[in-house]
């Protein structure tokens, strides 16, 4: 059936909204839509192939949706601006490659291989497993946001850290390493 949006008047559109924003205040006769239960929040990550097992924190994005770096180089974090691991869409987790003086929590992330598993433990005591299906270094300057953060129909996971060459002048690496995972069936 063809879509026919012929009637004009605006619904109560309020522009872009943050993920996990509070539900709209219902009109007197309207109930909030029924939303399937969302996944419990992630609290820990394990990558057995590189002997990584550590807690997770939560990370913010700024007013232009740019992700902040984890404040602690040994504690990676999940962004609530992304779906929780296990919900439909890409859950985004970032961790440091290094500090000023040496390695940090994700310094071995480049050793992860396609087929490896990533375990995410959640606040409700459950653990879910993601299978790595792709590993790619991408430019930080021309970061492929749609490719990394764009919509997916499956529960997926992205692990991000730095890669490439260090530029002392600007204090940045040239690339990000992205590990793509999908919820194991």
């Amino acid at each position: 059936m063809a879509m026919a949006v012929s009637c004009g008047a605006a619904a109560a559109a309020q522009g872009a909204t943050a993920r996990r924003s509070p539900p709209p205040k219902p009109a007197p006769s309207a109930q909030p839509a029924i939303i399937p239960p969302t996944a419990a929040l992630p609290v820990r990550i394990q990558i057995p192939s590189i002997d990584l097992n550590t807690q997770l924190t939560q990370l913010a994005v700024n007013s232009t949706d740019q992700p902040s770096a984890p404040p602690n180089p040994w504690v990676p974090g999940w962004y609530p601006a992304s779906p929780a691991p296990g919900d439909v869409g890409p859950a985004i987790i970032a961790g440091h490659l290094d500090t000023y003086t040496g390695p940090a929590i994700f310094w071995r992330l480049s050793q992860v291989q396609v087929g490896d598993t990533i375990l995410i433990s959640r606040a409700d005591g459950t653990t879910i497993t993601f299978d790595v299906y792709r590993i790619q270094a991408v430019s930080q300057q021309n970061f492929p946001s749609q490719e990394v953060y764009g919509p997916t129909p499956f529960p997926e996971l992205r692990l991000l850290t730095c890669a490439g060459t260090w530029n002392s002048a600007i204090g940045k690496y040239s690339q990000n390493l992205v590990v793509f995972g999908r919820l194991s069936n």
Partner: protein, 275 residues
């Protein structure tokens, strides 16, 4: 006039959506020759069901109002069989054709006395920037049919029959009040509020039977993204140029040590005074 804006640019958006859908195809992680089907259990008075495809169980114990993840199935003509949990007797036995790398929703619909399976093709191409994408599926037993689907009190999907689906439409992200009304009426039999996130694709199922199961709107993400842009700065160069500067974490750690030391000293002094 957000909906009017959608109407005005609809042909353009359709073309753009087509282009974007190629660019934003999900990064396939499964086998190359699969189609993907999720099961929506929406018969309000039916028990939980098992769903089999070609004799292999696809979904177990799907309860009313549940929608599974997308799961891979063989491309071509597939036999969908729906049973009570643990039973071999078919409530539904229907053949459906699915195509490579396409996505579908298999709805278990209707009252138990007339339960049926219906497959709907899903369009997961990304909406234009700033928009969400949504379609409606009418699974509300004994509700108006054909129905006038309203947004903000105005019809947006007129003529939606029971057990049928609308096409997907791009709409500005934001909060809406959706209603289900009889044709040629703007008075909703039931309505629900929902917030749509930019970039996400949704299906809104009208569900219930108005008696044992209340009418309502079940809003499900067909696909979802992260509201993020650009990569994080997760390096400080120590692996490339060891000890090339002073980490902000070192002063923080030192401060912590000093605080602990000071605390310990203070405690020692307190103990000394107490003696």
């Amino acid at each position: 006039m957000q909906w009017l804006r959608v109407l005005t640019v609809a042909p353009m958006l359709a073309a753009v959506s087509l282009l974007v859908s190629f660019a934003a195809q999900p990064l396939a992680a499964g086998a190359q020759s699969d189609a993907y089907v999720r099961v929506a259990a929406l018969s309000p008075d039916a028990p939980a069901v098992d769903v089999y495809v070609n004799g292999t169980k696809l979904v177990s114990a799907a309860a009313y109002k549940s929608v599974s993840d997308y799961l891979p199935v063989a491309v071509g003509s597939d036999q969908f069989k729906v049973t009570d949990v643990g039973s071999t007797k078919a409530l539904i036995n229907v053949s459906e054709t699915v195509n490579t790398d396409e996505y579908y929703t298999f709805g278990v619909l209707g009252p138990l006395s007339k339960i049926m399976g219906e497959i709907f093709q899903d369009d997961l191409g990304a909406p234009p920037s700033g928009d969400a994408k949504i379609r409606a599926i009418h699974a509300a037993v004994a509700a108006p049919s054909p129905a006038n689907i309203l947004a903000g009190g105005k019809p947006v999907f007129p003529g939606l029959a029971f057990e049928a689906a609308t096409q997907f439409a791009a709409v500005p992200a934001g909060s809406y009040t959706f209603g289900v009304a009889p044709m040629n009426s703007n008075t909703a039999a039931f309505s629900a509020t929902a917030t749509l996130v930019s970039g996400d694709v949704y299906t809104a199922f009208g569900i219930g039977n108005g008696a044992s199961a209340a009418y309502g709107l079940l809003l499900v993400n067909d696909s979802a993204g992260a509201s993020m842009s650009g990569g994080p700065g997760t390096g400080e160069g120590g692996l490339s140029i060891p000890n090339h500067g002073t980490s902000p974490f070192v002063p923080a750690a030192l401060a912590g040590v000093l605080l602990l030391a000071a605390g310990g000293l203070g405690l020692t002094q307190l103990r000394a005074r107490a003696r």
